[in-house]
Symmetry: C2
Subunit: 785 residues, 2 copies
Amino acid sequence: MIRQPAFAVEPWTVREATLDLDRIAQSESVFALSNGHIGLRGNLDEGEPFGLPGTYLNGYYEGRPLPYAEAGFGYPESGQSVVNATNGKLIRLLVEDEPFDVRYGELRHHERVLDLREGTLSREVEWVSPVGQAVKVRSVRLVSLAQRAIAAIQYEVEPIGGRARVVLQSELVANEPIPHSEGDPRATAALEAPLVSELAAARDLRSVLVHVTRRSGLRMAAGFEHLIEGPDDIATAVQAEEDLARLTLTTEIAPGQPLRLTKFIAYGWSSVRSTPAVRDQVSGALAEAKHTGWDSLRQLQKRFLDGFWKRADVEIEGDPELQQALRFGMFHVLQAGARVEGRAIPAKGLTGSGYDGHAFWDTETFVLPMLTYSLPEAARDALRWRHSTLDQARRRAAQLGLEGAAFPWRTIDGDECSGYWPAGTAAFHVTGDVADSCSRYLEATEDEDFARQCGTELLVETARLWRSLGHHDKAGRFRIDGVTGPDEYSAIADNNVYTNLIAQRNLRDAAAATESDPELAGGFGVDSEEAAGWRDAAEAMIVPYDEDLGVHAQSESYTEHAVWDFDATASDHHPLFLHYPYFDLYRKQVVKQADLVLALHLRGDAFTAEEKARDFAYYEALTVRDSSLSACTQAVIAAEVGQLDLAFAYMTEAALMDLDDLEQNSRDGVHMASLAGAWIAAVAGFGGMRDHGGHLTFTPRLPENLTRLRFRLAFRHRLIEVEVGASAATYTLLDGDPLEVAHHGESLTLKTDRATSKPIPHLDDPGPRPQQPPGRAPRITRGPG
Amino acid sequence: MIRQPAFAVEPWTVREATLDLDRIAQSESVFALSNGHIGLRGNLDEGEPFGLPGTYLNGYYEGRPLPYAEAGFGYPESGQSVVNATNGKLIRLLVEDEPFDVRYGELRHHERVLDLREGTLSREVEWVSPVGQAVKVRSVRLVSLAQRAIAAIQYEVEPIGGRARVVLQSELVANEPIPHSEGDPRATAALEAPLVSELAAARDLRSVLVHVTRRSGLRMAAGFEHLIEGPDDIATAVQAEEDLARLTLTTEIAPGQPLRLTKFIAYGWSSVRSTPAVRDQVSGALAEAKHTGWDSLRQLQKRFLDGFWKRADVEIEGDPELQQALRFGMFHVLQAGARVEGRAIPAKGLTGSGYDGHAFWDTETFVLPMLTYSLPEAARDALRWRHSTLDQARRRAAQLGLEGAAFPWRTIDGDECSGYWPAGTAAFHVTGDVADSCSRYLEATEDEDFARQCGTELLVETARLWRSLGHHDKAGRFRIDGVTGPDEYSAIADNNVYTNLIAQRNLRDAAAATESDPELAGGFGVDSEEAAGWRDAAEAMIVPYDEDLGVHAQSESYTEHAVWDFDATASDHHPLFLHYPYFDLYRKQVVKQADLVLALHLRGDAFTAEEKARDFAYYEALTVRDSSLSACTQAVIAAEVGQLDLAFAYMTEAALMDLDDLEQNSRDGVHMASLAGAWIAAVAGFGGMRDHGGHLTFTPRLPENLTRLRFRLAFRHRLIEVEVGASAATYTLLDGDPLEVAHHGESLTLKTDRATSKPIPHLDDPGPRPQQPPGRAPRITRGPG
């Protein structure tokens, strides 16, 4: 596949040099800015043309009825959809009475740059109006990582060739019309103009609008404040009405005498606070931002990012495009998680309305590993959010007739929003994924406060779920029947290996956590009998294995099922679920996304090297990768079994998911898990990092296309750097007490006083490259860059 | 459970002696009249009070969108709901200006009688109006079994104590308001006033209204014509407008001088014929009915029923109530199937709008066995309907990626209407049930015309489905994975025994049918290779068996699943699916309705007697009977394994389903399959009749509560009578050529010249009575009547 790059290849920036209206929606996602609380899609300053206008506040949603052709007990009645909140990034420009709109006149020059170290989106345009007046427009936009409630824009316009009259309209617009998606008309109706005005106030150069969502009753305030630089005679007018606040500047400017507007935008929302309270919260944030000032906001932004990259950067040599993509992905993951503080990290972050803005298991299984080792406080906050929904998860478990907590398949506020239970409620692994992520965080940080406040309770309540979900059969083996694993092309199966192994770890970790702090455990009603029950169930856990084939069965009887007829599947029939019925997908051997192979990674301690190689080869031939939650895991295991070129191809696919719009749906937002997965592919794949039981081990080995890989990990109050070359790896403890790790099975003690270099052992012939279904090999397979 | 009988116990009538408004909806179903084409609920003549007004035309439906919270490929987009058609049974009465309404004034006497030999619903009322005028009202209603388009009412009013002014309004009313059911508001909206007027004409004493359904575009005509007897000075006026036609009679009558109105009502509908065409069709039918006259319509009705009862009656001694219930049930099954002619037999017949008026597998598996041996031409017509939907079933199979035909789980016109695929699309056994029913009909009738026109094609296309649905595993065994059997508390399982065995018979029968007529087979593209493929698959069919427990597993791994916690299930938590989520029901051992046990009946040739006894006992302990499609099958197998009292209890439950409103939902229509199931319980249970491979065998044995059972069977142009006493059974060939049957394994040749009596062998101790889950023993367990 030869692709036409949309963006220039540079190490620290993503640059768009032409404006392609067919790609505008993708660009809006790629150029989205966020701090985890506020998300602004990369819409043009003037609002139009757009692919999808988008301004999001984490957790701010509207409810809508979930309809069923045939209802059933326990089906969620109400769904949640992220709301396009009041748009504060709008700055409209009129030049000699003509609106600046790139669809008219002539666009002489266009450039946008997302700067991964500055944390800004900047733009430079030269435009000639239909009547021939040329102007230069420059803008820089940021969503502050330092001041959570604040976004800011500096906007500058300057005429070319002669004086020009200009008007700037800086706005807040609520209830923007958005393009209709297909689907249930009642859902669409619920999201049409979801915001009901409660307050509109304006004075001087500032304004605040307060709205409340019609059904969910969530109250939000948006406000702006401005600084103006330019000619002395600028006329200003400010107005505010229900769904609009507008500051209008009118003046005439000359070449070399730009008009510059600095716009501070603040957001806040609450499910409980009053209209005056949210108004004041936003006004206060604006006052603080103005006091901080534009230059300082930019400095703070850079400082935050410098700190992040210093701790977390992953450098690769040999493929500049992959280097760029890796950093781009890490930047988006950082943006999604940085200031999430008590809310979820949705599958698309705050970059688009895809998946209704819901959070899934993606967060715990793909996003949090990167954050745990790069920005642990963000991982902690995301887990705190899960903990804050424990009551909802307990109620859900009770409704389902289970003990403990059942976390939702998809949600914004913690309540289950899945309207299709075989791939929602039945996918209980999400609860194990939360526990797994919690254990990883605890092992990596030794965060005792979190353990006491959240971690142990999470482990206890999730273990209780498994204990009540499974049962011992006549032979005393522990079974978990009728569940759906990660592979969404199978459902309602018995003893899914991934689910059983993630449950096994959960049960063990809960037992260990309560054993280590009996007093805390007692507070949760855990006695030694209960903990023993968890350990017994874990020990007796069934892991289906097909003796004839010598591979693990993804779930019981799985390998008895017919293999999907890949040869008869047209190449344009992917993703399969849009072209074939679930009943047929479920009953055949065809894998949407890594399932058994994900177990080989996350529970690699439960498999031998030989099993991994055989299992990987077997499931490669069945995996169509109709999900973005797959390539990174396949990269990790391909690397582990020595299929390094294949691993490289998978990593590249994961990393380029959005820059190359590989699934043709980046318009709805970037694929946060795939972007985080590129980090996983680098660190756990070519770095060979594993963290089973909190013990860091490495089996680094580079593919031919890379000459060097360097990454850093935050681990137990330490900072570790690993540098991998073709023949040796070097481990450096940059900060903290000595730490024992392993390199290809050899134990090393890292100390800050010196780096440790170790040769990389010879790779035994890993055998032939595993084959994928026809046409489903990794989509990008290039030589060295 | 002590029940308060709603109806007097009489051998040939169902009599209601008081009007209980709390039971009025149940009575409307019990007293519904139908000929399989027209259905009139037993609403009071004057229309109110009602439980649910109902006038149905078989196959006449309105479409409605099927909503999904999360859509999927192949989900039906449109549903179908039976429409409450133009109500022609309305005759309103005013007495001295006061409307006759039993909720006002005084109801001195009320009686309604459904006469199973006359085929009429008659009514006698004495009512005193609020101002004190007493009247006697008598009406007799029939839906003609002889003239398919016709219903008729004779209505008589007579004053008591003195002269009275009366007004009669005989009406046709379209778009009657009906009580709202809960559920999707869009579906409700689609069914509110579904009829759009196209024509309204009235002249003399007759009128015709033509309407078309808004979405489905089906055109119907309803008409009335009248005869009047009474005083000479009756003033009449007729009018017709969009949704109303009305004949008004005004007169004064005296005691002994009743006013009598005879109303002929005609219906017709078509998806293709024009407004004038359906108008004329109905006018013509009215002319014919008037020409036939009321008395002759009644005679024809009786003659039809005499013929039916002569061929089909089942007599029992020892329980008069059960005798009544049996005949009541057979009468409703007759009504549902008599003149169905190219349409489906819905689960509720035409007695209510339950299940949206859809037909399910109920028809083929429970209703058609009775009709096959009692009124074979009705069975043939029902199967012809299935055949007429073959193109739709072929399209559905193709959409699902399968060969042959996939019949819908629920439908009116042949298109799939199920909005929940795990219990719809996945329940492929419905297709095998069609084939099974077809084979039974062919074996029982030797109807060569049907075989050529429909039967062989049905067997071929259904066999093709199975061949493409299943596959051979590595060991060469034929598997059918990911399907749902009859038990709706399990779904998407591998190798469901019932499904596999019904498929096995289907494959064999198709092979045999095409082998016996290669030319016909060639017309369907069947060659000897294809037929051999069917036989091979049938031979290699997997039938899961649990060696440890010594019982068949309902499906693979079923017996490994946890047993439902019956002790923790509150008695008011039935049916379970209204109180527990599907995910939990599906993954545990709990059976909604006979599944494996149904295989023991319909594929009894595939099990040994010992296996049947063990399997029955095992599944009895798991079966909660939350479906009305269960008790009759449990009765049959209970009788076969010698548990005669248990069989009697199950038969009683099946028979009394609607007369006693056992499931508290007879208001929505009678349970046709349960009523037909009472016949099955009598004939296949205590008569021990089996028809495997077209060979009739009997193992008759009575329970203590019965002293005699006599039934007749139409079989291959013969009429056979079987009379069972406590110690002997007598077989009589009433008509036709000699026939070989078997009595308890002993072969007998029946001839018309003499009856054959045989002693009933001693019953070996069948062991302890199998136990049901707590509280789920058959609901009616009484001593001898």
